[in-house]
């Protein structure tokens, strides 16, 4: 059912902590950056369950979908180390709960993307199963997939809830607390318009004259990370496939040893029991690979994170570009004014050419044009100032979040690699155990 973190009292736990099938002493708890945001001081968030529902969709067709139960509990007193559990005094109060489906999460995320373009918005778990090795089902309704998605959604909520900026968002708060009417509230913010223009800007092609080196470097890093993690996930799926094959073929030993033992006298018992161990060995790969999926999920999260990083960098590019455009616009207007004032044509302008061809304009016309230009320049200067401020604020906030992200990424991926190593150790130990048992049986032959 719920392969959740050990107890509900643990705060801000992401990823899989259920390595119960392996060494109990090698228990790694992935903790994300322990930011005690105001929100997390108030509440504990869990995505506790998943359920199948059927209903009519927008085109009035029957569909089956999964809903997830969000549980909100009053936060327990925090000890020094947030990951340790502190049993509350008296019975814990029943949590507030509401149901959300995946598309609700998607809507929330889109809202956040649009509203906080300078923030690297945490990603959602994948909509459809990708990078699967063949034994894992790619079916969205498969219970294992649903379970991993449940963990991923909880992860998402905790990431948002522990973000210094995002955790204060009202819409996010309502997502956690208001089941009905939330969608309407989101739409009422009018973010849809911004959403459309954002999409446009993301795909726009433009060149920035003086790109910010830091952002360029970050975008490049993010692309590299994306490439390498994709590669890693692809190869890992192939490795899992092959390993599955190796283990399963050993199961055939089980059968043949059993058959062989039937014709043997003294050797029979040893062979028969060894055969059982071979069966055990073959069966053990299922759990091993299921566990490894959690590692893959951790990698996937950062794969999707790179998209978020990229879009922040792209947004910065856009603002930078707009700033450059505004500055350039102002410069050309000022030049025009100068020309008008001194009568010299330094820059080619159609007006200048036509007046040359068709005769100069009257003093009146010139003065009215000058006045209009002055106005335009003033507006331009205002606009430039605004754009400058916008850009500076964006850079400041974005870079702050990027630094935060980098730190988080280093920590999380390091933990992920360590837990991967622990999984490998556990797999080796299991293998040694089974083969030692088999060896004992062979010795008794």
């Amino acid at each position: 059912m719920m392969a959740d973190s050990g107890s509900n009292e643990e705060v801000a736990v992401i990823g899989n902590t259920d390595i119960t099938s392996t060494e109990s002493e090698s228990n790694i708890i992935n903790t994300m950056v322990e930011r005690e945001t105001a929100l997390l001081r108030k509440m504990e968030i869990n995505v506790a369950e998943a359920e199948k529902r059927t209903g009519k969709n927008t085109v009035n067709m029957q569909e089956t979908y999964t809903v997830y139960l969000i549980e909100i509990r009053k936060a327990h007193k925090q000890s020094q180390r947030p990951a340790e559990t502190v049993p509350g005094v008296g019975a814990p109060a029943a949590p507030d709960t509401l149901w959300r489906r995946y598309s609700d999460f998607e809507l929330l995320r889109t809202f956040l993307l649009v509203t906080y373009p300078y923030i690297i918005i945490p990603p959602l778990p994948e909509k459809r199963a990708e990078f699967q090795w063949h034994k894992l089902s790619a079916d969205n309704l498969d219970p294992d997939f649903v379970e991993r998605r449940r963990v991923g959604l909880e992860n998402f909520l905790l990431r948002v809830a522990s973000h210094p900026v995002l955790s204060n968002d009202k819409i996010f708060f309502f997502f956690l607390t208001e089941e009905k009417g939330w969608r309407e509230a989101v739409l009422e913010t009018g973010f849809q318009d911004k959403a459309d223009s954002r999409l446009k800007s993301l795909s726009a092609m433009f060149r920035v004259k003086n790109p910010d080196k830091r952002f360029t470097a970050m975008k490049q890093y993010s692309d590299e990370l994306n490439t390498v993690i994709s590669q890693l996930l692809r190869v890992r799926a192939r490795v899992a496939d092959r390993l599955y094959g190796v283990y399963k073929v050993h199961g055939n030993y089980g059968r043949v040893f059993s058959e062989w033992s039937a014709i043997e006298k003294e050797m029979g018992d040893g062979l028969q029991s060894a055969g059982h161990h071979m069966d055990t060995y073959a069966a053990s790969i299922d759990d091993i690979l299921e566990e490894e999926e959690h590692y893959a999920d951790q990698l996937k999260e950062y794969l999707f994170y790179t998209d978020a990083v990229r879009s922040v960098c792209k947004k910065h590019d856009l603002i930078q570009y707009e700033l450059e455009m505004a500055a350039q616009d102002l410069v050309s207007k000022k030049q025009q004014r100068e020309e008008l004032a001194t009568g010299t044509v330094r820059v080619f302008s159609l007006k200048g050419m036509t007046s040359k061809l068709f005769g100069t304009e009257s003093q009146e016309q010139r003065e009215s044009r000058l006045a209009a230009l002055e106005q335009s320049i003033q507006e331009g200067e205002e606009a430039l100032k605004e754009k400058n401020t916008e850009c500076q604020e964006f850079v400041q906030m974005a870079w702050e979040d990027i630094e935060r992200f980098k730190e988080q990424k280093d920590k999380d991926l390091r933990e992920a690699l360590i837990s991967y190593a622990i999984m490998q150790i556990s797999m080796c130990k299991k293998g040694i155990q089974v083969w030692s048992n088999a060896k004992e049986c062979f010795n008794k032959m």
Binding site: E23, E25, S26, N27, I28, I29, T31, E34, R81, A83, E84, Y221, E224, L225, V228, Q231, L232, V235, R236, R238, V239, D241, R242, L243, G245, V246, V249, H250, N252, Y253, V256, E259, W260, I263, E266, M267, A274, D410, L413, R414, E415, L417, I418, S419, Y420, A421, I422, Q424, I425, C428, K429, G431, I432, W435, S436, A438, K439, F442, N443, M445
Partner: protein, 439 residues
């Protein structure tokens, strides 16, 4: 292990020394109490002195048993190597390539250490090629048709498919030849075969010269007429045949499984190598994660190495032994067939003789008696060899399978050690915030 006491063999004529030993267990002492020159004490366990004049006498049998100080040990543990009782040690090693204008071939050094009087010197060292082993085996089969001759590794290899001079091939073949020779040397009857003696000692093995010492039994069995039909095969030989068929089948299945595993492991290895290299390439973009990523890449590489070794070992040590036993089974089945023929001939002749007897009252002809002797001798030899074969088979497969288990354990251990040292390395860098535990 002993079969019932053999019938008096006097009617078959003087048999060579080598034929007398079969009723005894595998741990038996070869006959060394020949006339003269025996330094060891002769006497029964209770101290009664024993005659040593006639090699065929039961007293000399006891004598031989007595000479074995470790007889007790062998009785306790029937699987103990009779190395303490053995007095013939052979080894095949040191492969060398020979290039001549006509052909290129490999020779192996065959070393012998022995205290047997049948050998002039206590040590010998000769070089032999596969052809020579093949010659030996054919000679043994011809001269000891009632015995199970161990198999040789396969003779023919497809040129172009298998490299006859590759290290692995030569190594595998050499091990099989070594095993063959050791099995022959351990056999209480075969080890006294004069062809073996020649093989081990002669500077130049002149294979064209057939050695004069062919047993009469051998000759007569060769001339068994083929036209006789077997009436009823005794149950124990039926059981042997059935066992061999089923066992053969199972071995074939195990061979296929082992090959399949090798294939899957090899494909896994290919992917795993690429997997490791992706981690290595990731290192380039990272700072803080450099150490863990390099570490993981390293561990994956170590695991690849361990897996490679496992595959090589299985391929070189495991599969050849399985295939050898398939050949062994073929040999055994051949011997069973020859036994059947021997029985058929006896029954046929007996029937004919009985009919004739009814007609003209002639006594039972000598040929029929000879046939009966042959058959019973054959049956006895076969049963003894069967027991010895079963015992060896049990040892061999126990060793084979525990070896397989050991290699797999070893492979996992190497991998585990690498990952564990990575954890230690990384854990040392952990800050106080982290709450990871390791074992």
């Amino acid at each position: 292990m002993s079969v019932g006491a053999p019938r008096a063999l006097a009617s078959s004529g003087q048999k060579p020394i080598t034929e007398i030993l079969h009723p005894l267990s595998a741990a038996e002492e070869p006959l060394s109490a020949t006339v003269g020159g025996d330094k060891q004490e002769v006497g029964l366990t209770n101290g009664t002195p024993v005659e040593t004049s006639s090699p065929a006498s039961t007293s000399s049998l006891f004598n031989r048993l007595q000479l074995d100080d470790d007889l007790e040990a062998d009785v306790r543990d029937p699987y103990a190597d009779s190395s303490e009782t053995r007095d013939l040690f052979v080894t095949v090693d040191d492969p060398k390539k020979h290039v001549s204008t006509m052909e290129t071939y490999i020779t192996y050094r065959v070393s012998t250490k022995t205290s047997r009087v049948e050998f002039d010197l206590p040590e010998y060292c000769v070089r032999r090629r596969y052809q020579d082993f093949d010659w030996l085996r054919i000679k043994l089969e011809d001269s000891q048709p009632t015995h199970l001759i161990p198999p040789l590794p396969e003779k023919f290899v497809m040129k172009g498919v298998v490299d006859r001079f590759s290290e692995e091939f030569v190594e595998t073949r050499m091990k099989a030849l070594d095993k063959f020779l050791k099995r022959v040397a351990d056999h209480p009857v075969l080890s006294f075969n004069p062809h073996l003696n020649a093989f081990l000692t002669a500077k130049d093995l002149n294979k064209r010269q057939g050695l004069a010492l062919l047993s009469k039994v051998g000759e007569s069995v060769k001339h068994v007429a083929g036209g006789y039909k077997l009436r009823a095969r005794p149950a124990e030989f039926c059981a042997m045949g059935e066992y061999l068929d089923t066992f053969n089948q199972k071995l074939g299945t195990i061979d296929r499984i082992a090959q399949r595993i090798l294939k899957e492991q090899s494909e896994y290895l290919t992917e795993l190598r690429e997997y490791g290299s992706v981690y290595s390439s990731w290192v380039g973009s990272e700072d803080e994660l450099l150490r863990p990523l390099e570490g993981v890449a390293g561990c994956v590489t170590t695991s690849c190495g361990a897996l490679e070794d496992l595959g090589e070992n299985m391929s070189q040590d495991f599969l050849p032994v399985l295939r050898e036993y398939v050949l062994y089974i073929e040999s055994m089945k051949n011997v069973l067939r020859k036994r059947d023929q021997s029985q058929a001939e006896y029954e046929g002749r007996l029937e004919a003789a009985i009919l004739r007897k009814q007609e003209d009252r002639t006594p039972m002809p000598v040929e029929v008696e000879k046939c009966q002797d042959k058959m019973e001798c054959f049956n006895a030899d076969l049963k003894a060899d069967w027991e010895r074969w079963q015992s060896n088979k049990r040892q061999d497969f126990k060793q084979l399978l525990t070896g397989m288990a050991d290699r797999n354990i070893n492979s996992y251990e190497k991998s585990q050690a690498a990952w564990e040292s990575l954890i230690t390395l990384l854990q040392d860098k952990q800050t106080e915030d982290k709450t990871s535990e390791t074992n």
